[in-house]
């Protein structure tokens, strides 16, 4: 395939060169100029209905909608000239005619494009003196609430349902100032990916019921992370308030999830805030110093075969070091993958809620762990069972009885597990690391809040164990552990934390489709 011809133009006095066929709006982004817009979204078909992105193009008789105008050689575009500003001011004044201006009680406040652009370049006051139109709030089903008074009818939600989810559930009903977004007869927004309309909505018209009245946008701390809901590995942002995860938002990544996440992933965060967390290390059931617990675990492992059962959502670093531990003791690492129904997002290539409901099954296999329906099979009488972030309720009593000793590395308290040593570990919100999705895309997740009590990342706990067993695992950070892994495993050869960044990279020899 030959590269498309490049077109040179000037936007706000900045020369920029973009492939032919690019819209002026996207070209301006490349030049570092944000053209205000509502109806345009890079993940949706262009509609050109909001008239917000009008810009002055030299030699054009009138202002052009930059989302729907492609670049041309030698074009001179002005975004912030008087003419364009006047047009946008007019659009904003019109949009605010029936807008309730209830920002103080609106969930979108602080992350609202209507608020931002009005503040940036709108009129200071309104000339409209008539009563405003009123429509009641409507429950759209699923996680979505519709507040029609705030709606600016950009139709992003309608286009998402029509063209991306491809199950038409929404339409623009009525016309003129009576127009609202309406559900189709007998339809609602319970489709697997429908919750994305909440993120797409540039204003506070479509709200998440789950997040309703929970926090203001400016109170939240945000950290890039990876959804552990399935093996797709969608990029997300964990949003925390007072160190509790209160919302998950999708984070754009063209290699993995475009701009979207499914509702199951979006709403699956409460486990991160569990209150029954394992806070202190123990040795033989008594709380003790971290090092004492590590020593107890090491003596339980010394000379024994380690039968390691790990959570398939653990990071690559943890699986790497568990593999080293297994090799050292002549044991093995096994994991089981919870299953669920698959749900495709038809409008995006190779994006689905996958049947494998764990984040790192592919990475675990690359690192020598093996997938098993019953990970406790083959547990010998003299073996030491090492449980790493496994739901304590899922461990069969028979396995606990069969094992010589149990070492428990967990995020939650395991009352029923009589362990020789317990090491509390951090969950995905509380440490840095990487996971590998089903197409072999290696991606980083970042710490969103501190770990509770004495909990440490799983890789760090395992590294301590290895050191106690006279192994070499002297890592200060997840990046160090990752570097050692990149040296030891060809699939990760040459990768570094810095190079992965927030976009990730494909593992060597990754299955077809990874390089999409």
């Amino acid at each position: 395939m030959t590269a498309p011809a490049m077109v040179n133009l000037t936007i706000e006095g900045r020369p920029v060169s973009v492939p032919a066929g690019t819209s002026i709006l996207e070209a301006a982004k490349a030049a570092g100029v944000l053209i205000p817009h509502y109806c345009y979204h890079p993940g949706l078909p262009v509609a050109g209905v909001c008239r917000m992105c009008l810009v002055d193009v030299e030699k054009a008789p009138k202002l052009m909608p930059s989302c729907a105008t492609t670049v041309a050689e030698g074009q001179v575009v002005r975004v912030h000239d008087d003419k364009s500003l006047e047009a946008r001011k007019g659009v904003l004044e019109m949009l605010l005619i029936n807008h309730p201006l209830d920002c103080p009680i609106c969930d979108q406040s602080g992350e609202c494009e209507l608020q931002d652009y009005t503040f940036q370049e709108g009129r200071a006051d309104s000339r409209y003196r008539e009563p405003k139109r009123f429509n009641p709030v409507e429950d759209f089903g699923g996680d979505v609430l519709y507040v029609p008074n705030r709606c600016i009818l950009c139709t992003r939600c309608v286009r998402f349902m029509d063209d991306v989810q491809q199950e038409s559930a929404l339409c623009v009903a009525e016309r003129g100032d009576r127009a609202v977004i309406a559900k189709a007869p007998d339809a609602d927004l319970t489709q697997a990916w429908a919750g994305n309309v909440v993120d797409l909505c540039p204003v506070g018209a479509l709200l998440s019921k789950d997040f309703l009245n929970k926090a203001r946008a400016w109170e939240l701390d945000r950290a890039p992370s990876i959804c552990t809901g399935c093996s797709q590995g969608c990029n997300v942002t964990l949003e925390t308030r007072d160190n509790a995860v209160v919302r998950i938002k999708p984070r754009g990544n063209p290699d993995v999830n475009a701009f979207f996440i499914c509702d199951e992933g979006r709403l699956n965060y409460r486990w991160m805030n569990r209150q029954d967390r394992c806070l202190a290390p123990t040795a033989a059931g008594t709380e003790c110093h971290w090092d004492a617990a590590v020593a107890a675990a090491a003596s339980a492992l010394n000379g024994k075969r380690a039968h390691i059962v790990a959570n398939a959502s653990l990071g690559n670093e943890a699986f790497f070091l568990l593999g080293v531990l297994a090799k050292k003791t002549g044991g093995s690492v096994r994991f089981t993958v919870p299953q669920g129904p698959e749900a495709l997002l038809p409008g995006v290539e190779d994006l689905a809620l996958r049947a494998d409901r764990a984040a790192n099954a592919y990475g675990a296999e690359l690192l020598g762990a093996s997938r098993a329906d019953d990970p406790y099979r083959g547990l010998g009488a003299g073996d030491t069972l090492v449980l790493v972030d496994v739901d304590p309720a899922s461990v069969p009593a028979g396995a606990l009885a069969a094992a010589g000793r149990v070492v428990y590395l967990g995020t939650v308290v395991a009352a029923g597990v009589k362990a020789a040593a317990v090491l509390p570990i951090a969950n995905i919100a509380e440490h840095d690391g990487t996971v590998t999705n089903l197409r072999g895309h290696v991606q980083r997740y970042f710490q969103a809040r501190p770990a509770p009590g004495h909990a440490r990342p799983a890789w760090s706990a395992v590294a301590d164990l290895l050191i106690a067993l006279k192994g070499e695992a002297n890592f200060l950070t997840a990046a160090d552990a990752f570097a050692a892994m990149a040296k030891a495993h060809a699939a990760f050869a040459g990768m570094t934390f810095d190079q992965l960044g927030t976009r990730g990279a494909a593992a060597a020899g990754a299955t077809a489709g990874a390089g999409r």
Partner: protein, 166 residues
């Protein structure tokens, strides 16, 4: 039909009406273009366009019910609720208003028993609404009852007009 959807929905496009629709489809380059005439047929048969009606039209024309709903609600002449057997539209735009259209409207509301604009009379026979210009300003006040237009209507002619309706 007196209430919303109490009777089971009967398909509109069967037999002759299916043939009618097929004949209409021949006039257009694609199926979507026949949406408005198809909706007219539904309204003619059922008196209004119900959600089931929208769904049936959508199916016949390979559209989504959401799209059809958008079109039905866009236009004011498709009824989204059942209306009386005689749908009475009184022009109340400026010239007619000067000629006493408000009195005509009042007379219709009184003599039909509707009492309120847009509300169907208890016997289910009449619905009265105001409309914008019917294009007969020289013959104020024009009144359109279903497909027929009557000109030069005054308040005292209303009982006689109603008596003439079958």
């Amino acid at each position: 039909m007196s209430a919303h959807g109490t009777a089971p929905y009967e398909a509109v496009f069967v037999g002759k009406r299916k043939a009618d629709l097929d004949a209409i489809l021949l006039r257009y380059p694609n199926k979507q273009a026949a949406l408005l005439p198809a909706l007219w047929i539904v309204q003619e048969v059922q008196g209004w366009v119900s959600e089931e009606g929208m769904a049936e039209v959508a199916k016949c024309l390979d559209l989504t019910p959401a799209y059809v709903k958008g079109v039905v609600t866009f236009y004011t002449m498709y009824h989204q609720h059942p209306v009386g057997k005689h749908f009475i539209q009184v022009c109340t735009t400026s010239p007619c208003l000067c000629a006493g259209a408000d009195k005509v409207t009042e007379a219709f509301l009184k003599h039909t028993g509707c009492n309120e604009l847009g509300v169907t009379s208890p016997d289910g026979k009449y619905t009265v609404i105001e409309v914008e210009c019917l294009g007969a300003c020289g013959f104020a006040t024009p009144v359109q009852i279903n497909a027929d237009t009557i000109e030069n209507v005054t308040a005292d002619k209303v009982p006689q007009i109603l008596a003439g309706l079958k």
